[in-house]
């Protein structure tokens, strides 16, 4: 495109002193960051919806119904916790959806923000602080998490695996798991210096997959040898799964364990936020 240097451009000029109220950004900066992240997310909405609907549908057809039929026919229709295998599986699948949805919105966007496009630095060149960026990114990640869990719930409803009444509590439990895990992953991602160098692939293979496999997703955690059960104990997946099963269909769980499940997920969120705040502030001020 050629440019006409002689062309006059008229620009009105009030001046930042009168135009910009710093207190507005100081109070609402995290909302502006979330607004940007959601705008970015909307660019990918077909992929988000296709993944949100397609993934559970395939899972429910193959694992839920396929393996479910085998389990139910071998052990009886209400062999595990007195419910069908599909119902037993549902809270675990929702926890996975929550964790996955929130994680997707904190890992790659953090690389984009610090390394690829350096957009976090452009945010920080305004009144927005590192802490506000963390809070905004997490807010947007939770919006994606809630949406993804809800889409999964719609599929589960279609397959008759859950009831409408259970939708809010399962949404809350799964989103809390997403919150705890994503907060930790956000801080972790912010520590990656130049490129991800396959770190996220390693996390996927050696953290998320084992967490999914060994957290009582497909069978009660107590069925596993004790030396493998610890993977579940430290995993938000297990805490959300157990909590979801207790809240949804009344799987018997000691009250102290229910408190522990909530506490672990919320503690992960607190640790993750605090760690991420420190890392962001440090990295942006370099």
């Amino acid at each position: 495109m050629s440019i006409d240097i002689s062309k006059e451009s008229k620009m009105t000029w009030t001046g930042a002193a009168r135009l910009v109220d710093p207190q507005l950004s100081i109070r609402r900066g995290f909302l502006y960051v979330a607004e940007n992240r959601i705008k970015n997310m909307l660019k990918w909405w077909p992929a988000i919806v296709a993944f949100g609907i397609g993934n559970p549908t395939l899972y429910l057809l193959s694992i839920g119904i396929g393996i479910g039929s085998l389990v139910d026919s071998s052990l009886g229709p209400n062999a595990i916790d007195g419910v069908s295998y599909l119902t037993f599986l549902a809270p675990a699948l929702l926890a996975t959806a929550g964790i996955q949805g929130a994680s997707d919105e904190v890992t790659w966007p953090t690389m984009e923000g610090f390394v690829w496009d350096r957009t976090f630095f452009s945010m920080n060149s305004t009144a927005i602080t590192g802490k506000q960026i963390v809070n905004g990114v997490m807010l947007a990640a939770m919006a994606r998490c809630v949406l993804q869990v809800f889409m999964y719930e719609l599929c589960l409803l279609a397959f008759g695996a859950i009831t409408w009444e259970s939708v809010p509590i399962l949404l809350l439990v799964s989103s809390t798991a997403g919150l705890g895990f994503a907060a930790i992953m956000l801080a972790f991602s912010a520590n990656i210096k130049d490129d991800d160098d396959g770190v996220f692939a390693l996390v996927g293979r050696f953290v998320i997959t084992p967490m999914f496999m060994f957290s009582g997703t497909f069978y009660p955690i107590t069925s596993m040898p004790i030396y493998l059960q610890w993977i579940g104990w430290i995993s938000p997946q297990w805490h959300a799964t157990n909590l979801g099963r207790a809240m949804f269909y009344g799987m018997p769980v000691e009250p102290w364990l229910l408190i522990l499940h909530w506490s672990v997920m919320l503690a992960m969120a607190v640790v993750g936020f605090s760690w991420a705040h420190r890392v962001f502030e440090r990295r942006l001020s370099k």
């Binding site: 495109m1 440019i3 006409d4 240097i5 062309k7 451009s9 008229k10 620009m11 009105t12 000029w13 009030t14 001046g15 930042a16 002193a17 135009l19 910009v20 109220d21 710093p22 507005l24 950004s25 100081i26 609402r28 900066g29 502006y32 960051v33 607004e35 940007n36 705008k39 970015n40 660019k43 690829w116 496009d117 350096r118 957009t119 630095f121 452009s122 945010m123 920080n124 060149s125 305004t126 009144a127 927005i128 602080t129 942006l284 001020s285 370099k286």
Partner: protein, 312 residues
Amino acid sequence: MKKTEAEAMIIAKGLTKTYGDFNAVDSIDFTVRKGESFGLLGPNGAGKSTTMKMIAATSQRTGGELMILGKDPNSKGPEIRAHLGVVPQQDNLDRELKVWENLMVYGRYFGLPRKWLKVKIEELLEFAQLVEKRNSKTDELSGGMKRRLTIARGLVNEPEILLLDEPTTGLDPQARHILWDRLFRLKEQGVTLVITTHYMDEAEQLCDRLMVMDKGKIMAEGSPAELIKKYSSKEVLEVRFGSANNAQVAKDLKGIGTRLEVLPDRILVYAENGEKCLEQIVKKGLHPVTSLVRRSSLEDVFLRLTGRTLVE
């Protein structure tokens, strides 16, 4: 308060930034006045960008005093940044968003209403001559267009000070001239500009006043004309005798001109009259492969002050 202090947008006294044992910025003093175009000139690693980050209130000083818009950036960073415009050395546009969306989201960071921004974005697109590219993604823009968009983005809040870190590095000459034109218009509009560059022609074109930096220290300060007058001669004669011979020939040139500078590829003879010096050289029986008489530039000032060329 003195008039100059009342008009001061930036005041630095003993400003220092240390990384471990390394002084990136070593106790520098300077003041930038309202409406001024102030340049930080120096080679890579001189401390320009570090100084800029401290002025941008994103990197905290480790020593000295710094006041920007009457506030201390160590404690009032967000308040100061709300009234600054920043054009970083490396474009950090959002590649997922279109040209106009980049301006919109950036404006939103300042809490500006969408309705007001829609009007402002039209002005900025026109200013940056990117109207036709409004719906393009930033990946589809040329380097010059991206720089213009980054500058337009830095103006979205109508900043009191616009900070430009190496605004034209990596651009072709035509794109640089276009950018200079846009920046000159801002200067005419009364916007205070702070520019870092290692291009002397850029500094001469855009800056009312310059601070020459090297190794974290200020080597000289003044207007381009003042610096040239103070630290260089009126004219410079450049003679080349072949890179293998320059050092040897230079010994025979002693006494010609006011000062000699021997570079690997040429000898610079500083003088009030370059042509006369060339005559003297030829009379000595020395015949340069090429010769050129030119006016002194900031490059010569920098060479005089640091013994190094600006772009290495």
